[in-house]
Structure formats: structure tokens, C-alpha cells
Symmetry: C2
Subunit: 319 residues, 2 copies
């Protein structure tokens, strides 16, 4: 086999024909059968070595994160994952690296029921773009622009673990560090949670660039504001043990890479939602535009935006 | 506006809501309404600076080529273009560059009726991945694996122009050179031709990596062979004037970047097809596996594969 054929071989393993894939990897395009009566949700995310992950990251962790961040975007729309394409740019052909990468990619894909149907392989500085497609009933899609005044603001899981793991990476400090790195390298896309919250939440976004910036996207799109309790942001046990209190809000609201869902929910729906999805209420939607941080009932200063890709202040590997 | 907003501004201009785009750029996913009764054709292609185009290529030419090569893949399936996503990795934020790039991208998108619905912008070495989606009636899709013994093999347009333009670039030699560079930098995706050939051609592929390699993909997938007349490959006026005869076959069958369609057509359909699409017959499908070159009725040696991304022999900018 030449290198082309080897690469195809790696990715075709376990790709498995599902009934909605009429033609998978290997032609000019894949041919796909969309579910009747549904809309398609489609998203693309790029990871660049040295920016979104350290250059020496294990191929398994790269594969996981590249697919997980796209699944997270589907989750934030309440979409059922269907298919994805992988555009992979590699500095060289390394069959061990490719085998490890492809195996982990297919493992995660099978867990979430999403089929690899195509893509491209080129040579160049290491980076990956995954395009993921899901389906959602038009009336139930979780959009950013549907938050209503009076909605509760809630998040799944805990915030700040990945940012703290990155911060402590040089020190490899303390009991719980591994759990933080696991959150950084292998975020759990909240797909089941997104599906459950359809019809209950008014608006949703996934937390990739940090709560402050991502919540602002909901506020801007919906033309509303938010009051958020800085002390209410949920912490994991490892985070609670290892964080420096002075950095808590920055880690939890600016650090990014949480890949939890942030939703706004009418109070009347909250109990039903929280019975099925682990949620923490962190604030509420208000009429006054902007993001207003509170502590002990008082307005306090707090971060207004999250991670920014083109800021002069950013450093490589800062995520 | 911050840089995020500026980038969104550039790409949102003229993105224009079409009825099948329920939600475009700006949420976690786009929401799209697939055409009833059709399958989706989906493809992704990456261009890397210094590999697929010289680093100093004008932004307009990069935009054109990135979208055109994906439209060419849709054309090769006989698919109607619908939507695309752009994942753009940039070394720095340059608003002039972005404005020129986005304007040309939207110009080409409007010409082919394909809507930009999402994507990602990251910082890193310059590269682009476009994912394009089209629709096609399941019975009419032009696949690689449907060539039949006895089919005529035909191509649209002319072959070798882009490869010759690249070869002559240093010399900038002669009358017609500009036409060759135009073919290299602004290939014309044969979308209308692909749509017309549905139901007439048995198999199709687009010629991106050179006729020899791309035709081999049809032969392998269909389990057939081909006899091709080396003297029949169609030449443009500029190619005829500027090529060195000893290099003709290499330029026309290995050089790549033609973005013409290569189809196999039952002889009974050929007249009807050729009346609507400019076609040149270059050979026929035979039972004997492999690609067999002929000249003056005699078997002659000839290229067996096209451009290969991971060959040790390749040089950057070789395409």
C-alpha cells in the first residue's frame, strides 16, 4: 500500500456503514441520507498544534479533543450527531501516530454514534479541522438568540478545571492534578444533556472560550443582560483543592476549554430539567444589557470577555 | 469592533439568507433545511500555504481556489451546491487581506449559488479547509464505482494548463502564459457540466491530482481497465503554443490542478451528452485491469499515477 492507501486504511477501519451513509469515504463526496422532517446542524472547528494543544500532545488526546469540541457544538444546539469529516494536515507520514490517532477517533465516534464519512489529508504544519453534522427538529433547536428576561442561567458540570490544569501543568502539583488534565485533554461533550434540554431551555451555548465571553454571545444575540453570582460557579473537588482563591473567577469565567453547556431556562421548566441533567444555577436573565457580576448580593467587578484568538496579549499554548 | 467581530463582519457581508438557511453564521451550528427527497453530497478540502499555493499568493486567488476545488468535488458527483463552511487559519490579523479574501469568496459563492453558513477562524500557519455540501437525487449521483466495460472515457475542457503555468512561472515566458496562470489560480469548477451529465454518464471524477491517478481511482473502484490515447488529451491554444512536446504527457496526465471532469459514458448516451457539454473522448473502458496508454494504435509506456502528497520526491509548491 502507498501512503494514501495506508491513511485511508487507518480511517476506514471501524468507520462502519450506517444506513444513512449511502456512500462513505473514497469518492469525490460522501452521499448521505438526511432524516426526514429534521433540520441539519453543522459546525466546523480547527485545532492548531502549538496553539490549541502543545506540539508534543499524544495523538489520542488530539483525536479526542478535535472530535469532542465539535460534538460539543452539536450538543449546544440540541442536535443528534450524525456524520463528520476530518481534514488532517501532518508534517510527515508517521504510521504509529496515525494508527493511534485513528483508533481513538473511531472510539469516540462510536461512543457518540457519529460516522466518519470523508475529509482530506495534506502535508504541512500539524492542524486538524473537523466538520460535524447533526439533526434537530426545527422547533426544538437550542439557539443563542432565544433567552428571555426572567430565565434562570445554569451550567452543566463544573467550570475552570481545564484552565487550572493548564496553569499547573509546569508544576504537576498535587492530588487531583490528573483529573484536571483529563478535563483539559478529554473534555466530555454534553450531547445527551443537550438532547434532554430541548424543549426545556430557551437558549444554549457551549463553553469553549470561557463563561464570560460565551454568555455574552447569548446576551448580545438575545438583546438581554445577565446577573451572575461569582460565588455560584460550580467547582470540582480537584479544583476546590488546588486553585488559588484570588484566581478563581479568572479560571472559571475566562480560562475556557470547559465544554460544558450554559443554558437559560424558564423557572417553570427548571425542576424538570434539573431532574434529568446535573445543573447549577449561576444567575438570571435581566433586562439591563451586559454581564453583571454579583457577590453576597452586591455588584462586583468581573470579567467581560473570554479567550480571544487574535489578541496581542495571548501566548501560544495559552488554552 | 474587536477582531472577532471584524472577521464575522467580513464574512457575513453578502452571505445573504437563502430560504434553506434557517440559521447562518453566529451560533454554535448553522441550521439548514435539506431538500426533500435528495441525498446530501459532502466534501472537504484543505489548502496549505507553501504547498498548494505560494505563500505570497494574492488573497483573491486563495479564496477562489479554496472554494473552487470543493465546488469541483460537488460537480464530480453531479450535485447542486447548497452550503459551505470555511475554517481559516491565519498567521496574523490583516484587515486588508481579509477584506479582499472575503469579497472574492462571496463573489464566487454567489456565482455558484452556494451559501457560507459557518466555520472557524484561528491563528497559525496560513491554511484553509472548506467543507461544501450539495444535494443530488440518489439515483443520479455520479460515482466512481459505476464505470462499465465499453464506456467511452471523456474529459471536459483541456488538460495540462495549470501544470504548464506552474512550470513556466519562473520564466513568465511567452504569449498565452497569463491564460495558463489563470487556469492554475482560478480553476473553473464544472458544476453545470456535472449536473447535465447526471443520468448520462456512468462514472465521474474531478481531475485534481492528474488524469493518470484520478482515472485509476475510477478503474479500481469499478473493477475495470482503460485504454487511453496519449495523443487525444485535449490542449488549449496556450498549451499548444508553449509546451515542450517531450513533456506533454507528463504535464497533461500527472501535473494535476486541471479541475476538469473525467467521465465514462455509454456510447449510446455520448451524442446527447456532447451536445450539451464540451467533451473530448480520450479512450474507452476495457475489461483488462490497469491504465493502458496507446499512441497510433500501439501500446506505449505512460504515467500510472498522479501527484502524491506524501511522496518523498515531492517538493513544496510543486502543484
Amino acid at each position: 500500500m502507498n501512503e494514501f492507501e495506508l491513511i485511508r486504511h487507518f480511517f476506514a477501519r471501524g468507520a462502519g456503514a450506517t444506513p444513512d451513509v449511502a456512500l462513505g469515504i473514497g469518492d469525490d463526496c460522501a452521499l448521505l441520507q438526511p432524516p426526514a422532517g429534521e433540520q441539519l446542524a453543522i459546525t466546523a472547528d480547527t485545532l492548531v498544534a502549538g496553539r490549541h494543544f502543545p506540539v508534543d500532545t499524544a495523538p489520542e488526546a488530539i483525536a479526542w479533543k478535535a472530535l469532542a469540541v465539535n460534538l460539543s457544538d452539536l450538543a449546544a444546539m440540541g442536535a443528534q450527531p450524525l456524520w463528520f469529516l476530518l481534514a488532517l494536515t501532518l508534517p510527515s507520514f508517521d504510521s504509529d501516530w496515525l494508527a493511534a490517532f485513528a483508533t481513538e477517533l473511531q472510539r469516540l465516534a462510536q461512543r457518540y454514534g457519529i460516522a466518519l464519512v470523508g475529509g482530506d489529508t495534506t502535508r504541512g504544519p500539524l492542524s486538524l479541522t473537523i466538520t460535524a453534522v447533526g439533526s434537530v427538529s426545527p422547533a426544538l433547536a437550542l439557539r443563542r438568540d432565544r433567552a428571555q428576561i426572567g430565565d434562570l442561567i445554569a451550567v452543566t458540570g463544573t467550570l475552570g478545571d481545564a484552565a487550572l490544569g493548564l496553569h499547573l501543568r509546569g508544576a504537576r502539583a498535587g492530588n487531583g492534578f490528573d483529573a484536571l488534565i483529563e478535563r483539559l485533554e478529554r473534555p466530555t461533550p454534553r450531547v445527551a444533556e443537550g438532547l434532554t434540554l430541548r424543549g426545556l431551555a430557551n437558549a444554549a451555548i457551549d463553553l469553549s472560550d470561557g463563561l464570560a465571553g460565551d454568555l455574552q454571545h447569548i446576551l448580545t444575540a438575545s438583546g438581554v443582560g445577565a446577573e451572575v453570582d461569582a460565588d455560584a460557579l460550580p467547582m470540582s473537588e480537584a479544583f476546590r483543592r488546588l486553585h488559588a482563591p484570588a484566581r478563581r473567577l479568572s479560571l472559571q469565567a475566562v480560562g475556557g476549554d470547559d465544554y460544558e453547556l450554559c443554558v437559560t431556562i424558564p423557572p417553570a421548566h427548571y425542576q424538570q430539567a434539573a431532574a434529568q441533567v446535573p445543573l447549577t444555577v449561576i444567575g438570571r436573565v435581566v433586562a439591563t444589557p451586559g454581564l453583571h457580576w454579583h457577590r453576597d448580593g452586591q455588584v462586583v467587578p468581573g470579567p467581560q470577555h473570554g479567550y480571544r484568538h487574535f489578541d496581542g496579549s495571548e501566548t501560544p499554548d495559552a488554552r
